[in-house]
C-alpha cells in the first residue's frame, strides 16, 4: 500500500482508464496524421467565415457534426492549428466539442430523465458553448505565441509562410513534389516525400506521411496521457476514501460549485458518461452538478497533461484558473436561477 492506496486498486483503475481512453487517443492521432498529410494547407482559411467572431461561434457548434470526446480532440486540434486553424477557433472547438455533441446531449438527457432532463441538457449545451465561445473570443486578442507551445507556434508560422510563399500553386497543400517551387520559404510543411518517393515501393507518399505523423503524435500524446491517467487513478481512489469530507463541503452552494469542479478535475470521467455520475451525487445542488458537467470535459487531470502538447505551460495555468473561476461563477448563477425557477 502506498499513500493509503492499494497497489492492485491503482493498477486496476489505471488500466481501466487507459483502456477506455487509449483507443480514442490513437484514433485522434490517426485522424491528425491524415489531416496533416491530406488536408490542403489553406483549406481552413478558405472555408472558415472571414468574420472572425462568426468563425469562433461556428467552431463552437462543430461538435454537432464532428463529435469527439476530450481525449481525441487534443491531437486533432494540435494538427489543425499546425495546419493554420486560428487559435481562437481551435480552442473554441476543443472546449465545446466534448459537450456540444449528440452523444453527450443524449447521455445528459438520459441521466437526468428523473426530472428536468431537457432543461439540464439544454443548459449544459448552452453554458458549454458560452464558455468555449468566450474563451475563443478572448483569444482573438491574445497573440498566438503567448498561447501555443513553441514547437506548435513555429509550425503554425511555417505553415503561414508556406502558404504565402507558394500562393497560386494548385494543390499546394499536398505539395510532396513542389519543393522546388517553394524553395526555402516552404517552411518544411511537406511530408519528406521528395526523398522517399522512389523508395516508396508504390505506397502513396501522403499515406506514408500520415502514418509517420500519426505515430509521433500518438507517442507525444500518450506520454502526457499516461502521466495524467496515473494521477487520475490515484485521485479516484483517494476521493472514495475521503468522500464523506467532501460531502459536508458540497452542502454549501458556493463551496459545492467549486467542490464539484474540483471533483470533475480529479475524477476525469469521460464527457459522454459524466452526467450519470453527476445525477447520482446526493445532496448537491443543481449549480454544483452543472459546474461538474461543464468544467469536467474542459479541464481535468489527464487533460491538464494533454493540453501541454498544445499550450505553453505558463499560459496553461492561467487558462485553467480562468476557466475554473468563469465556469464556477456562471454555474453558481445558473444554479440560483434554476432552483429559484423550480420553486
Amino acid at each position: 500500500m502506498i499513500l493509503g492506496v492499494e497497489q492492485s486498486d491503482f493498477a486496476y483503475n489505471f488500466l481501466s482508464l487507459l483502456l477506455e481512453g487509449a483507443p480514442y487517443i490513437v484514433l485522434g492521432t490517426v485522424i491528425s496524421g491524415f489531416i496533416d498529410a491530406y488536408m490542403p494547407g489553406d483549406l481552413l482559411e478558405r472555408k472558415l467565415p472571414k468574420n472572425r467572431v462568426l468563425a469562433v461561434l461556428l467552431s463552437g457548434l462543430m461538435g454537432l457534426v464532428l463529435p469527439v470526446c476530450e481525449c481525441a480532440v487534443v491531437p486533432v486540434i494540435r494538427r489543425l492549428v499546425g495546419k493554420g486553424l486560428p487559435v481562437s477557433c481551435a480552442f473554441t472547438y476543443m472546449l465545446a466539442a466534448p459537450i456540444v455533441n449528440p452523444v453527450t446531449m443524449w447521455s445528459t438527457w438520459h441521466a437526468f430523465s428523473g426530472g428536468a432532463a431537457t432543461e439540464v441538457m439544454l443548459s449544459r449545451i448552452g453554458l458549454g458553448f458560452l464558455v468555449a465561445a468566450t474563451v475563443g473570443l478572448l483569444l482573438l486578442v491574445v497573440p498566438a505565441e503567448r498561447v501555443l507551445r513553441e514547437s506548435l507556434f513555429r509550425q503554425k508560422g511555417e505553415k503561414k509562410q508556406a502558404n504565402e510563399g507558394c500562393e497560386g500553386h494548385v494543390d499546394h497543400g499536398h505539395h510532396e513534389h513542389e519543393h522546388v517551387c517553394c524553395g526555402e520559404g516552404c517552411g518544411h510543411e511537406h511530408h519528406h516525400a521528395h526523398e522517399h518517393e522512389q523508395a516508396a515501393g508504390g505506397m502513396d507518399v501522403r499515406l506514408r506521411g500520415a502514418l509517420r505523423a500519426a505515430m509521433t503524435d500518438c507517442v507525444d500524446v500518450a506520454v502526457y496521457f499516461t502521466i495524467g491517467v496515473c494521477l487520475t487513478a490515484i485521485f479516484n481512489i483517494l476521493y472514495v476514501q475521503h468522500r464523506e469530507v467532501l460531502a459536508s463541503v458540497l452542502e454549501q452552494p458556493v463551496a459545492a460549485t467549486g467542490g464539484m469542479m474540483g471533483l470533475a478535475f480529479v475524477l476525469s470521467v469521460c464527457s459522454t458518461t459524466d452526467a450519470f455520475m453527476a445525477a447520482a451525487l446526493k445532496g448537491v445542488g443543481m449549480g454544483g452538478k452543472m459546474a461538474f458537467l461543464v468544467f469536467g470535459p474542459m479541464m481535468d487531470v489527464k487533460l491538464l497533461f494533454l493540453y501541454q502538447t498544445v499550450m505553453r505551460r505558463s499560459f496553461l495555468w492561467k487558462f485553467a484558473l480562468g476557466l475554473f473561476v468563469f465556469v464556477g461563477v456562471l454555474c453558481w448563477g445558473w444554479g440560483i436561477w434554476f432552483e429559484g425557477g423550480a420553486r
Partner: protein, 269 residues
C-alpha cells in the same frame, strides 16, 4: 538518439507497439469486461490494431531507410513531424506504468476499496435511467432459473430497481428470490438491529465511475458473524419499506451461505 534518428523512430514505434499490444491483450482477455463496459470493447480492438499498423509501418520504414543520422535524408530544425520527447523517455513513461499495472492488477477492486465504495448512504438518486421491459409473473417464471427451494435467481440490480417499477414490484412482492452479493452491516436504517446490507459494484464505462448498489436485508434470527464484505448467496422473501419519502426494497432473509467471489464480480448498468 533523437526522435529524428533511425533508432529514435524505432523506439517511438516500440512505444506505440507496446500500447497496441496491451490493448489487443486485453481485448482477448476474458476479464476485459471487469475493466470496461462492453460498448467500448470494439474500440479497444480497433485502437490496438491501429497502434500495430502505425508501429509496424514505422519500424519497417526506419529499417528500410539507408540514412541513419536523419529521418528522411535531410536535417530538420523544426521537428514538426518528429516527437518532442526523447524516445527512451517516451518509452519508459508509456511502458513502465503499464508493466507495473499488468504485474499487480487483480482484475478487480480490493476488498478494502469495495467496502469503501459500499460505505456511502443508501440512495437511488441518479439511477432512474435503468428501464426494464414489461414484466409479469409468467415472464418471471419463464426467464428466471429457480434454486432447489424454488427461489428465483435474480440480479441484485433487478431487485434494487424493482421499487421504482410498478409492474415489477407487484410481481416480486411476496416472491422468494435468491441473489449473489457481498454482505456488510447496515449503518443507517437498522432500528431493530436485525438488518444488514448486501451490495454489488456496478460500472457504466470504466472503474472511474464505479458505484455500489445496496439492498437492505432483514434476518429473523441472529445476524451472520462473517467477515465484513463476504460474498454470500442469500435468499428470502421480497418486500418493500418506506424510508422517508422513498420506497426501498427489503429482503426478508430465510437462507444465507458464504460463497466464493463469482467470475465477473463487477457488473455493468
Amino acid at each position: 538518439m533523437t526522435a529524428q534518428s533511425k533508432w529514435g523512430k524505432i523506439v517511438y514505434a516500440m512505444a506505440v507497439l507496446l500500447w497496441g499490444g496491451v490493448l489487443l491483450y486485453f481485448y482477448l482477455h476474458p476479464q476485459l469486461d471487469q475493466y470496461l463496459a462492453e460498448k467500448f470493447h470494439l474500440y479497444v480492438l480497433v485502437g490496438g490494431l491501429a497502434c500495430w499498423v502505425l508501429g509496424i509501418f514505422n519500424v519497417w520504414e526506419a529499417c528500410a531507410s539507408e540514412v541513419d543520422a536523419t529521418c528522411c535524408g535531410h536535417a530538420h530544425e523544426q521537428g514538426h513531424h518528429h516527437g518532442e520527447i526523447h524516445p527512451l523517455v517516451a518509452l519508459l513513461v508509456v511502458g513502465l506504468p503499464m508493466a507495473y499495472a499488468l504485474e499487480v492488477t487483480e482484475h478487480g477492486v480490493s476488498d478494502q476499496r469495495a467496502a469503501q465504495l459500499a460505505a456511502g448512504a443508501m440512495s437511488r438518486d441518479g439511477f432512474e435511467d435503468v428501464e426494464f421491459p414489461q414484466f409479469s409473473l409468467e415472464e418471471l417464471k419463464r426467464v428466471k432459473q429457480q434454486a432447489e427451494d424454488g427461489a428465483y435467481q435474480m440480479e441484485l440490480m433487478e431487485l434494487f430497481f424493482s421499487a421504482d417499477d410498478r409492474e415489477m414490484r407487484e410481481v416480486l412482492e411476496g416472491q422468494r428470490v435468491e441473489t449473489v452479493a457481498r454482505l456488510r452491516d447496515e449503518p443507517e436504517h437498522n432500528e431493530n438491529g436485525k438488518r444488514m446490507r448486501i451490495y454489488r459494484l456496478y460500472m457504466r464505462c470504466c472503474a472511474a465511475d464505479m458505484s455500489a448498489l445496496p439492498l437492505l436485508v432483514e434476518f429473523e434470527r441472529a445476524l451472520p458473524q462473517w467477515e465484513a464484505n463476504s460474498w454470500v448467496i442469500i435468499a428470502g422473501t421480497m418486500s418493500y419499506v418506506k424510508i422517508g419519502e422513498i420506497d426501498y426494497p427489503l429482503l426478508l432473509v430465510d437462507r444465507v451461505e458464504q460463497t466464493q467471489a463469482p467470475a465477473g464480480a463487477v457488473r455493468r448498468f
